[in-house]
Amino acid sequence: MVPRVSSSSVVRLSRVLKTYRVGSTDVKALDDITLAIPANRFSIVIGASGSGKTTLLNLIGCIDTATDGAVEVCEEDVTRLSDDRLADFRSRHIGFIFQNFSLVPVLTAYENVEYPLILLGMTVASRRQHAMAMLEAVGLAEHAHRFPNELSGGQKQRVAIARALVKRPTLVLADEPTANLDSVTGASIIALMRRVQAELNTTFIFASHDAQLISHADDIFAIRDGALLEHRMETEQ
């Protein structure tokens, strides 16, 4: 398969290799991956457990570095950025949604959503406005002052979605966001993500091992054993 590198790609990976050293042997988590992820679309990375989805998302999210190859995010060669610059880069461009929600337990729903805006140095007034609007968009405005342990799994993930999107990032990465939820709640979370993706016109990359979710995606990247199997576009741009 020849990868299609569109001019409106948010992420470009070229011949990316990622190995982990386990004992005395190198485990190849990603093997020669070249891909381009189109902007403003809802892409899914699908693959069995251990196929390298998380590793791929970590590289795209600039929280991990490739062993070899080029990684370009938002037209920036992120392999050359220092640790602090990478942190700033993530703060500006990337939103994360994790499988285990990963809210800061000592902060309320509202404060969790406000957090990324503080990192961006936004004023109190605009922080309030953006965070409340985002909580409303995920349907949790009335739970704004609850702490994570006072929220259900689905509610936590909604807060996480609000936190990822509140800064209007170029790119949102969701690593198996429904794996810890029951199927009904999971479905509503997928629907919510789809909705906000469309509303905010953000690029979403969503990793899952659940083949049933393919139907929701605009683009599908299937990987197995760290190698890209195929890239299929479900709907035409």
Partner: protein
């Protein structure tokens, strides 16, 4: 509120029990340091007060007296001492610092009591003083130790032959009964008990006394009298009689067993006879101890300027015991500080390491959100610092409360080298330097202790941290 502070405070509250345990270690350290420090500083004040009341701050001696003169005070008299005192008194720099300036004369000799059935004699170490100056010196109490209560009117400038003895001296001279002293048993009857005037020395003393004073010492009425025999500056034997108005117990036994306090003119007469009356020392008691270096420097300048054969000694040199006690307690305090510092260090390292472990996933999450390494480090440093600050503050308050309770409990104690009990006090509130120093020190230790775990947290790879659940 600042996000960082909010996160830090809430995490401290979240791990309430752990934070309380760690904070308690810090508080205990602070409590121990402050109470002991307060007690120590009070001991120092007490010792300093006792020394300054007795010896003043600075004493001017004839050159060489300090090292060689004790055995022969007569040879090291300060000639024209009134002129020297005038020089000091008129100095515009020294004058405002000085509380009391008074001359003293040391004298060595043999004291004897030959009244009634008693026939006792022994060597003595005498000091001639100006009673009114001595009273003023005894009133020196800037630290409010209340070590001396009331005036001692037993001696007066106008009664030259009235003096006091150390308790041990009085006991040996058989004056327990006549002076109606408590805790002062009479000598047991021994085979060697003598009748008056039978020993060779005593016969000589009696002879001298008869010849010099023309009256028999046994004739004294009321207060007992003793005879003091010494060699004058030119080597001739000399004798005076002293009316003993009472005792003044000395804290050091050797001194107590030998001590005679007498009026300066009497001491001078004993040492110099009909020659020029000099003095051994000119004692300067300053209003404030912290003026000592300045006063000493100025005195030295005066002495140099006028080419006087004089030297200056501080009370610490005259009484090495003072420095020894200060060093001992300072050593104990330092040791305690180190132990407390170690305890706090380990407690905070341990707690912060656990906190970092528990929050590993959270560290990964916030790093993914864009927090820099420095932000993570700062969060954990601040947490350690805050636990230290709160713990040390609580400890300080406890120490203040406890010290006030002790001070109001009316306890007394006898400081080393003292003869009489003084109120036991722990001076914490009056030592803002100690409080803030201990607080800052403990906060610093807690922060340093947090540095290691904080650095580890900051160095975590985001991916590894996120994988940690």
């Amino acid at each position: 509120m600042n996000l960082l502070l909010k996160i830090v405070l809430r995490n401290i509250l979240r791990n309430r029990r752990r934070s309380i345990m760690t904070g308690s270690a810090v508080a205990a350290g602070s409590l121990a340091l402050l109470l002991f420090g307060g007690f120590t500083s009070y001991i120092f004040s007490g010792l300093e007060t006792g020394n300054v009341q007795r010896n003043g701050h600075l004493t001017v001696f004839h050159s060489g007296y300090f090292l060689f003169g004790e055995g022969n005070p007569a040879a090291y008299g300060i000639a024209h001492y009134r002129g020297v005192m005038e020089l000091i008194h008129d100095d515009p720099i020294l004058r405002p610092m000085i509380n009391v300036m008074t001359p003293t004369q040391s004298v060595l000799g043999i004291a004897g009591n030959f009244t009634g059935t008693v026939d006792a004699s022994k060597t003595f170490l005498g000091i001639g003083i100006v009673p009114s100056d001595r009273e003023r010196m005894r009133g020196w109490d800037p630290y409010d130790t209340r070590a001396v209560n009331g005036l001692d009117r037993r001696m007066a400038d106008s009664e030259e032959s009235v003096g006091l003895l150390g308790l041990g001296m009085a006991r040996v001279l058989g004056l327990c009964g006549p002076l109606r002293l408590k805790d002062c048993p009479p000598a047991p009857d021994t085979a060697a008990a003598q009748t008056p005037g039978t020993s060779a020395v005593n016969r000589e003393v009696l002879d001298l006394a008869d010849r010099d004073t023309g009256e028999h010492p046994n004739a004294a009425q009321g207060e007992p009298r003793i005879q003091l025999l010494a060699a004058t500056a030119d080597g001739a034997p000399n004798i005076v009689s002293l009316t003993v108005a009472g005792v003044e117990q000395q804290g050091v036994r050797e001194l107590d067993d030998n001590y005679v306090i007498m009026d300066l003119p009497l001491a001078q007469q004993l040492v110099y006879g009909r020659g020029e009356h000099k003095v051994t020392g000119i004692v300067l008691q300053l209003a404030r101890t912290r003026d000592m270096p300045a006063a000493r420097a100025r005195l030295a300048a005066l002495i140099r300027q006028h080419r006087l054969p004089l030297e200056i000694r501080g009370f610490g040199e005259l009484n090495p015991f003072y420095g020894q006690v200060v060093r001992l307690f300072s050593g104990i305090f330092l040791f305690m500080t180190l132990v407390m510092g170690m305890i706090v260090l380990f407690a905070v390292v341990n707690t912060m390491t656990m906190n970092v472990m528990e929050r590993t996933n959270e560290i990964g999450t916030t790093r993914a959100l864009g927090v820099r390494r420095q932000g993570i480090r700062r969060q954990f440093l601040m947490e350690g610092m805050l636990i230290g600050a709160i713990g040390a503050a609580v400890g300080s308050l406890l120490a203040i409360a406890l010290s006030l309770a002790v001070n109001h409990a009316g306890l007394t104690w006898v400081p080393p080298g003292n003869a009489n009990p003084i109120p036991l006090r722990v001076d914490v509130l009056g030592k803002p330097g100690l409080i803030s120093g201990a607080w800052l020190g403990l906060v610093l230790v807690a922060t340093l202790a947090a540095l290691l775990p904080a650095n580890r947290a900051a160095r975590l790879s985001v991916v590894d941290a996120l994988r940690h659940v």
